[in-house]
Each structure stands twice: as structure tokens, then as C-alpha cells.
């Protein structure tokens, strides 16, 4: 993690995680009594998004650590729970929604881990089946070189049997996690895309081969795995390119080791378009055939995305006929035309995923 400016919220100055991070970064940090100076510094720069990837603000999560995924009514959500431990990312994907999600976007790491642990303990006591993920507002693993956050979570989840943790990443920072006692309650997950997309749209991420090699290492150490083909991007030659990566995936990982695979075509809030045009002037991904979806996001024209999904599903089914495959935020029409069934026929998407997690991770 390359940090140029470290800001520390006065409120968290004495917390153990703050001290660890300052030591690791070998930076004293500037103590501030609110987020304002950080935002001011950022908004004065010519390129706030780029700068926000180098400015780290250690602070407290003043809201809930555990929050439901903000799905919308119309499209089917998996009812995932987000563990909100930090924001933004040091990698730089053109399609990343975080560029326009935070105003201005800045790396924040919430160091009030006592509060987080208390929330988790309370949650675990309910003994509810749950899928909890850390990769919604940031990449799960970019923080590992400044603080062993995921190691802490893996151990914590290993001590209970009702919830799983999904660690989602485009990095390969996993070596220090391999020998942890995970009790199969952590699913190691990677986003996959075609090599064209990784090369042109995912700056500073690990290569596909590296991601698959990392997944194989985790598998060898007993971790259950998951993969996310999200965002699927439609471009000339995309189907063949996705076929290649699917072949590669199943040449490396057996379907039995995979808890689920998600599929989601590229979708974005309209204001992301101008940001991508400005920051990634060679990117063509925003010039697909998009229409405004019922959640206000731009989505590929439905007949087009159904046809694309049908192809991708058939490729995956060829290698893994029984693997749990699901769509992230699609409606029944897409499910029925691509999979031949709608989630409610199997008790709903959350239930389908819970059952798969129960099978692979030994949930009670």
C-alpha cells in the first residue's frame, strides 16, 4: 500500500490498530479532529480519485459494522450482509463504482475493532445462518500489508458455526492466511474477468493466472472457494474470451471446491460514465448498449444480456453441471431464460446460497 498522507482521527489515536498501522507505514500521521481537513485536502487536488487512493484516514466507524446489502426491490438480491470495515481501494478498475460512491473517495480504515468484535459476537449469538462479506466498499485484502485484519476475522469466524465470511479480492495477498485455523468458515473468493479486461480495465490488480494460483493454494489449505464473474463485459470477442477463462478456472479448480459462482453484467450509476471517460480515456466499456434499469443504474439492453448470460451459463455448466450459479441483481425473466428456473422455486436466492454454504462450509 503506497500512502503519501496519513491522517488520524483524534478519537482513535490511542487504539491498538492505529499504533500498528503507524509502525508499519513508518509514518507519524497528522492528527485531525474531524474528516474535514482530509476532504479539503482531497478536493483541492486536480485528480481527487487518484489522490484518494494514496491518502489514508484512520477513523472510527460511527455507524453499523454489519449492514444488509443495499439491494433494490425489483432485482433479486442475495441478502448478503456487509461487514463495513473500510472504504475505497488502492487498485484502480475503470468500472469501480467506488469512484463515484464516496464524495470525495478516500481510503478509510475503521480501527475501532472492539466495536466491530462486539457487533460480530452479538450477531453470532443469534445463531442465524448468514453470509457476511468484506468486499463491498473496498477490496477485502488490500489492507493486509498494513494490518492483519482478515487474519483476525478468519479466526473469529472459525470459532462459530452459523455464519460464513466471504473474502473477495483481486489481489493475491493470501500467504499469511494459509495456515490459519479457518474451520472452513471463510470462503476465499476472486473476481474473474477476461485477460483483455484485466489488462485494460483493472489497473494494479493481480493477473488472472496469479488469482487462480492463489485460489489453488487456498484450496490446498482447505479453504472453500467462490468466484465472481462480475462485471461481465460485452465486447467483440467477449464470449470466446470468457470461455477461455472458464476453461482455465476449471483446469485449476474442481467444481466441488467452489461454494458458488456469481454472474453480473456491467451496470453503473449514470454519473460514473463521465468519470470513466475522464480517467480512462481509452476505455470503451461505457459504450455498450445500455438502458436505464429499474434501479436507476445503466444496464445492458435486457435481450442482449440474456443472450450473453445464456452463453456464459452454458460454458460453466459444461464443466460444472452442479455448481451453485447465481445472478447478482437480475429479475425472474433473466433467471428463467438463462437458468430455466426462478429462485423462488428453490426457496429464494438467499436460501439457495445458504444451503450451498451449509454443504461446503459445514454450517449448522
Amino acid at each position: 500500500m503506497k500512502i503519501t498522507d496519513l491522517y488520524i482521527d483524534q478519537d482513535v489515536l490511542d487504539l491498538p490498530a492505529t499504533r500498528v498501522i503507524c509502525d508499519r507505514l513508518k509514518m507519524p500521521g497528522q492528527v485531525v479532529d474531524s474528516a474535514d481537513p482530509v476532504y479539503e485536502k482531497l478536493s483541492r487536488t486536480a485528480a481527487p480519485v487518484d489522490q484518494g487512493k494514496k491518502i489514508l484516514f484512520l477513523t472510527r466507524n460511527k455507524g453499523a459494522f454489519l449492514r444488509p446489502c443495499p439491494g433494490t426491490d425489483y432485482y433479486t438480491c442475495c441478502n448478503y450482509t456487509i461487514l463495513h470495515f473500510g472504504t475505497f481501494c488502492t487498485m484502480d478498475c475503470s468500472y469501480c463504482i467506488l469512484q463515484s460512491y464516496f464524495h470525495p473517495p478516500v481510503l478509510q480504515f475503521f480501527v475501532n475493532h472492539n466495536d466491530m468484535d462486539a457487533s460480530l459476537d452479538e450477531f453470532f449469538q443469534q445463531k442465524k445462518r448468514a453470509r457476511i462479506g468484506t468486499g463491498e466498499f473496498t477490496d477485502s485484502l488490500i489492507w493486509e500489508d498494513i494490518y492483519p485484519f482478515t487474519s483476525h476475522l478468519i479466526k473469529k469466524f472459525a470459532a462459530q458455526n452459523h455464519a460464513i465470511l466471504e473474502v473477495k479480492s483481486k489481489t493475491v495477498a493470501i500467504d499469511h492466511l494459509l495456515t490459519l485455523p479457518h474451520n472452513q468458515k471463510t470462503i476465499m473468493a476472486w473476481s474473474l474477468n477476461t485477460s483483455d479486461i484485466v489488462r485494460t480495465e483493472e489497473r494494479r490488480t493481480a493477473s488472472l493466472d496469479a488469482r487462480l494460483a492463489a485460489a489453488a493454494k487456498c484450496r490446498d489449505h482447505g479453504y472453500p472457494l467462490a468466484f465472481h464473474f462480475d462485471p461481465l463485459i460485452i465486447y467483440p470477442g467477449a464470449e470466446a474470451a470468457y470461455r477461455l477463462i472458464i476453461e482455465k478456472l476449471f483446469a485449476t479448480i474442481r467444481p466441488e471446491n467452489i461454494v458458488w459462482i456469481s454472474l453480473g453484467t456491467f451496470r453503473f450509476m449514470p454519473d460514473l460514465k463521465a468519470i470513466i471517460e475522464q480517467r480512462f480515456d481509452r476505455s470503451k466499456i461505457i459504450y455498450g448498449e445500455f438502458v436505464r434499469g429499474l434501479d436507476g443504474k445503466m444496464r445492458y439492453f435486457k435481450p442482449l444480456r440474456i443472450r450473453f448470460y445464456q452463453q456464459i451459463v452454458s460454458f460453466i455448466r459444461e464443466f460444472a453441471p452442479h455448481v451453485t450459479l447465481y445472478f447478482c441483481m437480475e429479475d425472474d425473466e433473466v433467471w428463467e431464460k438463462s437458468f430455466g428456473f426462478a429462485p423462488h422455486q428453490y426457496g429464494g436466492l438467499p436460501m439457495m446460497l445458504d444451503q450451498s454454504a451449509a454443504r461446503h462450509c459445514g454450517l449448522l
Binding site: Y287, E289, V291, R292, L294, F301, K302, D331, D332, E333
Partner: protein
């Protein structure tokens, strides 16, 4: 102040702020600012009005500032008017941003770094474009887009806009679609226009201006969104084959994204209602209707 209000004010209390004129050789004058005031005075039948006259050797930059200040303090300029005013002043300003601020603030114009950057871009653009912006034929926003293009593409757009005078929204749409097609196909916009035979549309003597505009837009849309355009064509062909009377209208979900179709009908009296019911029953077994609801892409 709106023209009516200005007229009422001059009629009641006279001309408070005289227009500014510049003396030309042979005792002629040109109006530097106050066109509206002069025309209102004319309309009120005033034979003589006071004016402020600038001498023969007055500095053009100074005159421009005077004209802008005169306007800006008489009524508040909107953002576009402000930007256009700064654009007109820009040839008289040096390159450093600080001077732009110090010159513009006192005459009531607000500048920000983004605007300065954009205006400098236009300042570096070709003279044909600058003339059109200054004359108000091209808006500043469209001008900015055109300024960033290669010569061939810019000339193409200026030709289309000159010939068809599309609305500002249509201009923006044409620029956006052509730019996106060019990016997708890795070709200059001028090549895209050639392959779409836009020139032929403009010159077609059998089409009026509106038809030409919609034809150009259609061509661009078909190329930019081939899947959507193809789907819409298939949909319309199917609807046509349903041979619905005008009293029945079928509304698909917006952009075919949702799943709710709507049928709307109007009728007068029982016989027409029965006719509508027959038509609706006919739809139930019509293969094209089934294909419409299925949103199937392939036409049968």
C-alpha cells in the same frame, strides 16, 4: 430586465444608463453595448437619446470590458452568458489564470479554473468555430465539444448544424453518438459520417429539415445501438402484423427492461366495445403477440 419592464421603466423615468458607442472614421458610430436599450427607445418613438461615445483610438480590449460590465451590471447574466462574455474577452487576456481572475471579477464575471481551461481550449480552436460561437450560432457547450475534435470531424458537424439547425439537445446527441461510434470503431468521426452517407441526407431535395434531422439521428442510433435498434424494428414489425385498430394501443415496458405490458383502449358504445373484445381475443392466439410478450429477438 425583461424587454417589457425595460420599456416601462424608460417610458416612466427615461434612460438611466446610456448606451456606449464607438466613434468610427467619417463620423460614423458603432454600438458597443446597449442594443436592447436603443431598440426600446426606438419603439417608444424617442428621436434623441444620450450616449457615451468612445474615441477613435479606444482600445478594443477596454471596449469589450466596458460592454460586458455595462451588461453585467444592468441585469444578472446566467452561467452561459457569463461564459460567452468571458470567451469574447479572452482574446484580450494573457495566458496566466490569475490575470483572468483579476480582469473578470471587477466587471461582474465569475471565473473558475475549469471554465478558464475550457475557454482556453476554444481560444486555440479554429477561427470558423470561434466565429460561430461569438455569433451565437453554436452554443458554448457544443463549441467545447467541437473544439476537441480533429479538423475533418469538426467541419462535418459545422456543415450539418449549418444546414439543419438542429436543437441544442439534438446537436449534443449527434455529437455524443458519433463520438462513441468513433471510439468503438477506432475511426475518425468524419469516416463514420462518410460511411453513413450523411451528406446525401443533407442534400436530399425530397426531404424537409425535420425529416433530415430524424434520418441523421436514426442512422446514428442504428449504428451506435445495433441490438436495440434491431429489436425495436422487429417489435414494430410484429405490432404492425397484429393489425390493431387505432382504438387499441399496446405499450411495452420501457426499454423492454421490466415485464409489464399495457394495453390501452378507447371505445364509444357497445358495438365498438365488442369489436375491441374480439380484437383482444384475437391477440390471445396471435403468434406475433406471443413473440412480443416473450421479447424474442428473432422474427418469424
Amino acid at each position: 430586465m425583461a424587454v417589457d419592464a425595460l420599456k416601462a421603466s424608460i417610458a416612466r423615468i427615461g434612460l438611466v444608463s446610456p448606451p456606449i458607442l464607438k466613434l468610427q472614421p467619417e463620423n460614423r458610430y458603432i454600438v458597443v453595448s446597449g442594443f436592447r436599450r436603443i431598440s426600446v427607445c426606438r419603439a417608444l418613438g424617442l428621436q434623441k437619446i444620450p450616449a457615451r461615445v468612445m474615441g477613435l483610438g479606444s482600445d478594443d480590449g477596454q471596449l469589450m470590458k466596458l460592454a460586458i460590465a455595462d451588461n453585467a451590471f444592468n441585469r444578472s447574466l446566467n452561467i452561459i452568458e457569463q461564459a460567452t462574455a468571458i470567451f469574447k474577452l479572452s482574446p484580450f487576456l494573457p495566458d496566466d489564470d490569475r490575470t483572468w481572475h483579476s480582469e473578470c471579477d471587477p466587471i461582474g464575471l465569475t471565473v473558475n479554473p475549469g471554465l478558464i481551461r475550457k475557454l482556453k481550449k476554444i481560444r486555440a480552436a479554429s477561427s470558423d468555430l470561434k466565429e460561430k460561437i461569438a455569433a451565437g450560432k453554436i452554443s458554448l457547450t457544443v463549441g467545447l465539444e467541437l473544439a476537441g475534435m480533429d479538423d475533418g470531424s469538426r467541419v462535418q458537424f459545422l456543415t450539418i448544424f449549418d444546414a439543419l439547425s438542429p436543437t441544442l439537445n439534438h446537436q449534443k446527441e449527434m455529437i455524443r453518438m458519433a463520438g462513441e461510434i468513433a471510439c468503438l470503431e477506432d475511426k475518425p468521426i468524419s469516416k463514420i459520417f462518410n460511411s453513413l452517407e450523411i451528406d446525401n441526407i443533407i442534400k436530399d431535395p425530397d426531404m424537409d429539415r425535420n425529416m433530415k434531422i430524424s434520418r441523421v439521428r436514426r442512422k446514428l442510433k442504428d449504428r451506435r445501438y445495433p441490438e436495440i435498434s434491431g429489436f425495436e424494428k422487429t417489435y414494430h414489425a410484429r405490432v404492425k402484423r397484429l393489425t390493431l385498430p387505432e382504438s387499441i394501443a399496446l405499450h411495452p415496458p420501457t426499454d423492454f427492461e421490466g415485464n409489464d405490458f399495457m394495453i390501452q383502449f378507447t371505445f364509444r358504445g357497445l358495438p365498438q366495445f365488442k369489436e375491441i373484445c374480439d380484437n383482444l381475443l384475437r391477440l390471445r392466439d396471435h403468434p406475433d403477440f406471443a413473440a412480443i410478450l416473450e421479447k424474442s429477438r428473432e422474427d418469424n
